[in-house]
């Protein structure tokens, strides 16, 4: 049985608004409000959601780049959520991050080879004499040519920059890679290249991925387990087959049907669940189910009682009043799931 590499329990990240030198904060942004999941070693766990869902903040909190207000983060047996100072610095070798924006993730004044080299220096990986060879090895693994080490970021295309970012993240041989929308800013054809590369690296190096994205198609291809987040909480979570064979939460259905369909017969008049309005902001969270305001099948109860995330089918958890305890939704939503 695969022991979980990453285990997150009841993670909360709340940002204060107002306050400052004197006085208490006026309000709190509850960006992540009680998120729990575990990721078995060597697998890919996907978190999907839109803006305001808290998925990126979750990633940053796991990476200890943003202070979490509550909950625990465990990597193997180590509680990385409470580490500080030197201990944290040592632990950082085991988990690294791949960012979304290939144009902002590399220091424009550092050459590509230096960026990777500095990762090795910062994390004190191996002997200094051996580091140039390691840089060359990483470049090769990520599909870059050795002479490209001298170039500056602006001389690379978006896809190539993501390769450099991957090389840098893998420098100290981490066990976990947190990937925040790693291919969203890339062209489709390049997306495929980078995703294939990431899969090859996972197999070769035994990596575990925490994969954040808004694109269900990408999630479906890459992930073994998927969690759908909305306004700071997980609303549905299942392993891949179960989620895509039988999506239960109305929000999951809405997301899925929002993607444009290729079926020529559906062209122009795709059956789509139309959500009203925009993803709300996590400042003023209403009582009850957070999705109730936009949910096409919300009932009175949904606006007052917050549903709990519970397991309704093997490995399939959901937070919705309208799904029974044995996984049967009591609503009908017509949608073309492409």
């Amino acid at each position: 049985m695969n022991k979980p590499l990453l285990e997150v329990q009841d993670l909360r990240v709340h940002f204060p608004i107002g306050g400052g030198l004197i006085g208490k904060p006026r309000a709190w942004v509850r960006a992540v409000d009680g998120v729990s999941f575990s990721v078995p070693r060597g697998t890919t766990f996907g978190i999907v959601g839109e803006s305001g869902s808290g998925k990126s903040t979750t990633a940053l909190a796991v990476m200890r780049l943003v202070r979490h207000t509550g909950g625990s983060i465990r990597l193997d047996d180590d509680d990385i959520g409470t580490l500080e100072g030197d201990a944290l610095r040592q632990a950082r070798r085991r988990f690294q991050m791949v960012f979304q924006d290939p144009y902002a993730s590399l220091n424009p004044r550092k050459r590509a080879g230096d960026a990777v080299r500095e990762a090795l220096d910062l994390m004190a990986y191996g002997e200094p004499q051996a580091r140039p060879a390691r840089v060359a090895e990483l470049f090769a693994q990520c599909g870059l040519r050795p002479e490209q080490q001298r170039l500056f970021p602006h001389q690379f295309s978006g896809g190539q920059r993501q390769r450099i970012v991957l090389a840098r993240a893998l420098a100290a041989n981490p066990e976990l890679l947190v990937c925040d929308e790693p291919v969203s800013a890339l062209d489709v054809a390049i997306q495929a290249q980078i995703l294939n590369l990431m899969q090859r690296l996972q197999k070769a190096l035994g990596l575990t991925y925490l994969f954040i994205s808004h694109d269900l198609g990408v999630i479906r291809h890459m992930c073994d387990q998927v969690a759908v987040m909305y306004l700071g909480v997980i609303v549905e979570q299942a392993d891949r087959e179960s989620l895509f064979a039988r999506p239960l939460h109305p929000y999951t259905l809405a997301l899925w049907s929002a993607a444009p369909s290729f079926d020529p017969a559906a062209r122009g008049r795709a059956q789509r669940i139309r959500l009203q309005g925009d993803p709300p902001s996590p400042i003023d969270i209403p009582p009850g189910c957070r999705f109730a305001g936009r949910c096409p099948v919300a009932q009175a109860r949904c606006h007052t009682d917050a549903p709990l995330l519970r397991e309704v089918l093997p490995g399939h958890r959901i937070a919705c009043h309208r799904v029974s305890d044995n996984g049967k939704p009591d609503y009908e939503l017509a949608a073309t799931i492409g």
Binding site: G20, L60, L65, M97, Q100, N107, L122, R150, V165
Partner: protein, 271 residues
């Protein structure tokens, strides 16, 4: 790389000339600047012994130019150095840490900002003995706030970028992040600001001398302009030549600053 920028090269040459004059001038033209060297109000190019003429006291203008560059440049560079050091440090800390650090530092900067700079400098100069050092400190204290604001804005913007986060994710501490990741990228506007500050400092010193507040025993271009201001209609050369020298020096520094910016910009590298 620097060579390619013609304007910057011009600036460098100009600056080189100024510095050369400053270093070699007094030995090549050893006329003491404060001595009465000839008849007062002699125009330029009239008398061989007074190539650029004389001022209202009969002091040799050229001698003043040659000697005065030293003090002017010293004040300009030193004051700019103080300004940039204070301003950059305060701004970087405020921008990077945010929160109460930012609040505190911003309030302090505001206190300095609202003081009328010339008045404050004048007060300092009269309170303490009016030496060059006092002038340098006074100028530094009133001009650092603009650099601080600039640095704060840049650090605030840059600290959010992913490459800074990536370095943090690798265990880099705040000092390393500020110095090695953010500062090189914050440099361009700061370099431009620094070159402008040199110009401002030089002009400030000229202003203080003009008002008779700087050290009267040290010859500077500002002092020349200041002491001859009553006679500008009778002896335009006594004011114009030092004024021209200030203008060219400030221009040279600006051009060099621009060239430096371009030279440091990796996007312009061809390799």
């Amino acid at each position: 790389m620097f060579r390619r920028n013609k304007a910057a090269m011009l600036g460098l040459i100009l600056l080189g000339l100024v510095i050369l004059t400053m270093l070699l001038g007094p030995s090549l033209y050893p006329v003491p600047a404060f001595d009465i060297s000839g008849k007062p109000f002699t125009g330029p190019f009239e008398v061989a012994s007074l190539p650029l003429g004389s001022d209202y006291l009969g002091r040799d203008i050229l001698a003043g130019m040659v000697v005065g560059g030293r003090a002017t440049l010293a004040v300009g560079l030193a004051a700019a150095a103080i300004t940039v050091s204070i301003g950059l440090t305060v701004g970087a800390l405020a921008g990077y840490f945010g929160g109460w650090v930012d609040e505190l530092l911003s309030r302090i900067a505001e206190i300095f900002q609202v003081m009328p700079s010339l008045l404050f400098a004048m007060v300092l100069m009269t309170l303490f003995d009016p030496s060059l050092t006092t002038a340098i400190i006074a100028i530094g204290m009133v001009t650092w706030t603009s650099t601080a604001r600039l640095a704060r804005a840049e650090f605030m913007r840059l600290r959010k970028l992913d490459y800074v986060n990536a370095a943090r994710a690798m265990g880099a501490g705040p000092v390393r992040l500020m110095v090695r990741e953010i500062l090189p990228n914050a440099a361009p506007p700061l370099i431009v600001s620094a070159t402008l500050i040199i110009g401002v400092a030089i002009l400030f010193e000229a202003g203080l001398s003009y008002l008779g507040l700087s050290d009267p025993n040290v010859m500077s271009w500002g002092l020349m302009i200041g002491s001859n201001r009553k006679y500008v209609l009778d002896a335009w050369w006594a004011v114009t030549f030092p004024g021209l020298a200030i203008f060219l020096t400030v221009l040279a520094v600006s051009l060099v600053g621009d060239g430096l910016n371009d030279a440091l910009n990796p996007r312009l590298h061809q390799r």
